[in-house]
C-alpha cells in the first residue's frame, strides 16, 4: 500500500457553491501514490463538483489544495493540473465530435506539434486503447461524432492515460462505466488495477457498487457535499456501503410471477424484427410486460428501440407498434435534455397534450406533474424552475425518466436508462416500473447490467444486429445470456 503521508493530491476544507446550493461543503480528501480511491454518494452528492475542483475547471470558494505536497491554492487551474499530471475523464462528454480520435488526443497534448504529429497522436491513442480495451475496434482516423456512445467513452478514457511530456500521476474517472457494457467495464477496471499497481493513482466514481468494492483500495462516501465515511474497501460490504450513502438497502426482489395468462393469451402490442434479422425471429411485447434487451453494447439494441419509436403511430409496415410510445434516450446529452429549459419544462414536454385546455397549456397542471415526479423519484433541486443543467448528471437522468413515465404512453422504450442513477433511486424506479407494468404498461428495456434483467418477463439477446436468443423469464440465467452474447455463429 502507498504511503498516506505523502499524498499525490490533498484537499483541505474545500467548499463550492452554486448560488444557494452548497454542492461541496467542506471536504478533506487525499489520494496516495499507487492508490485507487473509490468515491460514492447519491445523485447530487457533490462528487462531480469535487472532481472539477481537483481538475482545475472549477475554483473552490474556500479550502486549500496541494499537489505533491506543494500548496497551489489560488493559482490552480486546468493548465497547472495538466502540468502536474492530473487527468480527468468528466462525467459529461468532453471530446470534440467534429475531430478524429487522433486529433482529440492532440487537444490534450500541447506538445504534439510539428511534422508527423498526426501519426504520433494516432499511435499514442491507439496504444492506449489497445492496452486498456483490447479488441476495441476504433481507428485513430475515425471521427468521434460517428462513434457510438460507448466507443466515445472508451476514447475519452484512453486519452486520459496517454503520455507525452508529463507523466500521468492521477486519473479521475467520473462514472466511466455508465455507458460501457459489462465486458468492456471489466477491461477498464482491470486496467485501473494494473495502473495503480505500477504506481499511478486513480479516483473512481461509480454507482455500481460492485465495481467500487472490487477495484478501490479505499472508499470515500459523500453525502450532501460532505464526507460521511472513509475506510479501506475491505471494511465495506455492499450493504454497509449503501447504508453509509444514506439509502436503505432493499432485499433483491423475489421472482416475479410469470404473466398469468401466458404469452399466447392477449394480443401483442409490439411485433418487430431487427432490420438485419434473417431467420424470422420476432420481438414480441404484450401489454403489461417488461421485455429486456441484452447483449454487448452496440449490437443493435438501440437501433431496435429507435425502430420501434419510429414505427409508433405509423400504420402498416413490417413493424407493429400498437400504442403511444415514450423513450428514455441513452445519450442524455445528445438525445435527451433540452438544455435551455427548466427542469419542469424538460419533464412535461412529452405530456403537454393532456395539459392543454382550450388550446393553451395549463401552467398549474404542468407544475403539478413536475412536482409529482420530483417527489416520486427524488430529483434533487431547490426549484424545478431552475435550468436542467443545474442538476447533477444522475438527476438529469431522473428528469428524463420522469418525462417518459409521466407521459400517457402505453409503451416505454428505455435505452439503458439507469446510467448514473444512484442505487437508492434505482430501487425506487424498479418499483415504479413494476407497478406501472402491473397497470398494463409495456416496457422494452435495454440494459447493460445483468442484475436488471431479473426484472424482465422476457429477454432478447442481441448480437451483430440480430436477436440470437429469446429467453422467457423461467429460462433466464446469466450464463445463457453471456453465452448468446459471445458465441460465434454456431449454425
Amino acid at each position: 500500500m502507498a504511503d498516506p503521508a505523502s499524498p499525490v493530491v490533498r484537499l483541505d476544507g474545500v467548499e463550492h457553491r452554486f448560488g444557494a446550493v452548497r454542492a461541496v461543503a467542506g471536504v478533506d480528501l487525499a489520494v496516495a501514490a499507487g492508490e485507487c480511491l473509490g468515491l460514492v454518494g447519491h445523485n447530487g452528492a457533490g462528487k462531480s463538483t469535487l472532481m472539477h475542483v481537483l481538475a482545475g475547471t472549477l475554483r473552490p470558494d474556500q479550502g486549500a489544495l496541494a499537489v505533491q505536497g506543494e500548496v497551489l491554492t489560488g493559482r490552480y487551474d486546468v493548465v497547472v493540473a495538466q502540468r502536474q499530471g492530473i487527468r480527468c475523464v468528466f462525467q459529461e462528454f468532453s471530446l470534440c465530435p467534429n475531430l478524429t480520435v487522433a486529433e482529440n488526443a492532440r487537444i490534450l497534448h500541447p506538445a504534439l506539434t510539428g511534422f508527423g504529429w498526426r501519426a504520433q497522436a494516432g499511435r499514442l491513442i491507439g496504444e492506449a486503447l489497445d492496452r486498456i480495451f483490447p479488441g476495441h475496434g476504433i481507428a485513430a482516423g475515425d471521427v468521434v461524432g460517428d462513434l457510438s456512445i460507448a466507443k466515445r467513452q472508451m476514447v475519452e478514457i484512453a486519452r486520459a492515460f496517454t503520455v507525452t511530456d508529463v507523466p500521468v500521476r492521477l486519473v479521475i474517472l467520473d462514472e466511466p462505466t455508465s455507458s460501457l457494457d459489462a465486458m468492456v467495464a471489466g477491461q477498464l477496471l482491470a486496467f485501473v488495477r494494473s495502473f495503480t499497481a505500477s504506481g499511478g493513482s486513480a479516483i473512481l466514481i461509480s454507482h455500481l457498487l460492485g465495481e467500487i468494492l472490487g477495484t478501490a483500495d479505499r472508499i470515500v462516501v459523500l453525502r450532501d457535499g460532505q464526507v460521511v465515511a472513509t475506510r479501506p474497501a475491505a471494511e465495506f460490504t455492499r450493504d454497509s456501503l449503501v447504508a453509509a450513502m444514506g439509502s436503505v438497502a432493499k432485499a433483491e426482489p423475489g421472482a416475479r410471477p410469470a404473466a398469468a395468462a401466458g404469452r399466447a393469451g392477449t394480443g401483442a402490442r409490439i411485433r418487430a424484427q431487427p432490420a438485419r434479422q434473417t431467420d424470422g425471429q420476432e420481438l414480441v411485447v404484450h401489454p403489461g410486460e417488461i421485455v429486456g434487451l441484452a447483449g454487448l453494447a452496440g449490437h443493435g439494441q438501440t437501433d431496435m428501440l429507435l425502430q420501434l419509436f419510429a414505427a409508433a403511430g405509423r400504420r402498416g409496415g413490417r413493424t407493429l407498434v400498437a400504442g403511444e410510445v415514450a423513450l428514455v434516450a441513452g445519450d442524455r446529452q445528445a438525445d435527451g435534455i433540452l438544455p435551455l429549459w427548466s427542469i419542469a419544462k424538460n419533464i412535461t414536454i412529452s405530456s403537454l397534450r393532456r395539459m392543454t385546455r382550450f388550446g393553451l397549456i395549463d401552467p398549474a397542471a404542468e407544475q403539478a406533474l413536475a412536482s409529482e415526479w420530483q417527489a416520486r423519484i427524488q430529483i434533487r433541486t431547490p426549484d424545478l424552475e431552475h435550468n436542467i443543467l443545474s442538476l447533477s448528471g444522475g438527476n438529469q437522468q431522473k428528469a428524463l425518466f420522469a418525462r417518459a413515465l409521466g407521459s400517457a404512453a402505453s409503451i416505454l422504450l428505455m435505452d439503458d436508462p439507469m446510467r448514473g442513477v444512484d442505487i437508492g433511486t434505482k430501487q425506487e424506479v424498479y418499483g415504479i416500473i413494476r407497478a406501472e407494468a402491473a397497470k398494463g404498461r409495456s416496457f422494452v428495456w435495454y440494459t447493460t447490467e445483468m442484475d436488471e434483467l431479473a426484472h424482465c418477463d422476457h429477454v432478447y439477446v442481441f448480437r451483430n444486429g440480430r436477436i440470437v436468443a429469446d429467453l422467457a423469464r423461467s429460462e433466464l440465467a446469466e450464463e445463457k445470456v453471456l453465452q448468446a452474447s459471445f458465441a460465434e455463429a454456431a449454425a
Binding site: 481538475a55 475547471t57 486546468v78 493548465v79 495538466q82 480527468c88 468528466f90 462528454f93 468532453s94 471530446l95 470534440c96 465530435p97 467534429n98 475531430l99 486529433e103 482529440n104 492532440r106 487537444i107 490534450l108 500541447p110 504534439l112 506539434t113 510539428g114 504529429w117 498526426r118 471521427v143 461524432g145
Partner: protein
C-alpha cells in the same frame, strides 16, 4: 464496407467536387469555346475573390459564429485599395492592417461579452459601408498597378485563377485541417468546453479565427479590385450571402466546427459557374432570375441523389 477507398466519408467529401465537375461538363457542352485557357479564365477569374471571402466566412463559422459584414468589409478593402493603397501605399497598408486588427478585436469582444456575432457583424456591415461611402462617395479610384498585373498574370498551361484557387484551398486545408494547431481551432467549434478544459484559451482561439477572417477578407478585396481595376462602395455587398452559401455548399455546417476549406473553395466556384451556366442557356429574361434558383436547387438535389445512392450501397 468492402471498397477501402470509397468509404462514406471519402464520398461525402468528394460530393462538392463532383457537383462542380458536372456543372463544368454541362457548360463545356453548351459552349465548347469555354473549354480553353481563355474560356476557363473568363469563367473563373471572378471566383477567386469569392473563394477568399468564402474562406473568411468559413473561419468564422468554424467557431460557431456568423459574419454578416464580410460583403461590406470586402467592399471597404476594395475602396482602400483603389484609393490610399495606390496613392499613399504606406497609409493603405496601415489601413488594411488596421482592418485586420478591428476583426481581431471584434472576436475578442464577441467572446468576452458573449455577444451574438450576428448582431455585432450586422452593425459592422453598416460601419464598413459607411466608411466606404466616406472614402469613396462616388465610384472610382484605380487599383495599384502591381495588383492589376498580378490578377491578370498569364501563367503557362493553366490559368492563374485555377492555380490561385487550388493554392488557396490547399494552404488553408493544410493550416486548418492538417496542422496540429488547426485541430485545436476546429475543436473549439465542436466542443468549446472540452477545449477549454484541456487548457486552451478560447479567447485566443476566437481572436485568431476572426483575425484570419479579416486577413482573408482583405485578400478578397485586393483580388477583387485587381480584377475590376476600380472600386465602388457597394461592389461586394453580395459576398455576404455568397460566402455563407459557398461554405454550406462545400459541405460546411453552421455549428459544430465541421468545415472544409477545399469544399468552400469549390462551393464558391460552383456558385460562380451556376450563374454562367444560365447565361449560356439563353432563357427568357423573365425567368433568368428564377433559373438561378433552379440551378442551385438542381446542384444540391444532385448531391442528395448521390448521397442516397451511396447510403443504399
Amino acid at each position: 464496407m468492402t471498397a477501402g477507398l470509397l468509404t462514406p466519408r471519402v464520398l461525402r467529401s468528394l460530393l462538392p467536387a463532383l457537383s462542380l465537375a458536372v456543372l463544368l461538363v454541362a457548360i463545356f457542352y453548351l459552349q465548347p469555346r469555354a473549354m480553353s485557357y481563355f474560356g476557363i479564365n473568363l469563367l473563373l477569374n471572378l471566383a477567386v475573390p469569392i473563394a477568399l471571402a468564402t474562406l473568411a466566412q468559413m473561419f468564422i463559422l468554424t467557431v460557431n459564429d456568423l459574419d454578416l459584414s464580410i460583403g461590406s468589409f470586402v467592399s471597404f478593402v476594395a475602396c482602400i485599395a483603389a484609393t490610399w493603397l495606390s496613392e499613399m501605399p504606406l497609409l493603405g497598408i496601415l489601413a488594411l492592417l488596421g482592418c485586420i486588427l478591428v476583426y481581431a478585436l471584434l472576436g475578442a469582444l464577441i467572446y468576452l461579452r458573449d455577444l451574438p456575432s450576428i448582431v455585432v457583424t450586422l452593425g459592422m456591415s453598416f460601419v464598413w459601408l459607411g466608411l466606404s461611402v466616406l472614402l469613396l462617395p462616388t465610384p472610382g479610384g484605380t487599383a495599384p498597378g502591381w495588383l492589376q498585373a498580378l490578377m491578370k498574370l498569364k501563367t503557362p498551361l493553366v490559368p492563374f485563377c485555377v492555380i490561385a484557387a487550388i493554392v488557396i484551398g490547399l494552404v488553408v486545408h493544410l493550416g486548418l485541417m492538417r496542422s496540429a494547431h488547426g485541430a485545436v481551432l476546429r475543436g473549439a467549434g465542436g466542443n468549446p468546453k472540452a477545449v477549454a478544459r484541456a487548457g486552451w484559451s478560447l479567447l485566443r482561439i476566437k481572436v485568431t479565427m476572426f483575425a484570419l477572417a479579416g486577413c482573408f477578407g482583405v485578400l478578397a478585396g485586393l483580388a477583387l479590385v485587381g480584377l475590376t481595376t476600380s472600386a465602388d462602395a457597394n461592389i461586394a455587398l453580395r459576398y455576404t450571402l455568397l460566402s455563407i452559401a459557398g461554405v454550406i455548399l462545400g459541405g460546411g455546417e453552421f455549428v459544430g466546427g465541421r468545415v472544409s476549406p477545399i469544399g468552400a473553395v469549390i462551393g464558391a466556384m460552383t456558385l460562380t459557374l451556376a450563374g454562367s451556366f444560365l447565361s449560356f442557356l439563353r432563357l427568357s429574361p423573365d425567368w433568368q432570375i428564377g433559373a438561378q434558383g433552379a440551378i442551385l436547387i438542381l446542384v444540391l438535389a444532385l448531391r442528395m441523389l448521390i448521397n442516397r445512392a451511396e447510403a443504399r450501397r
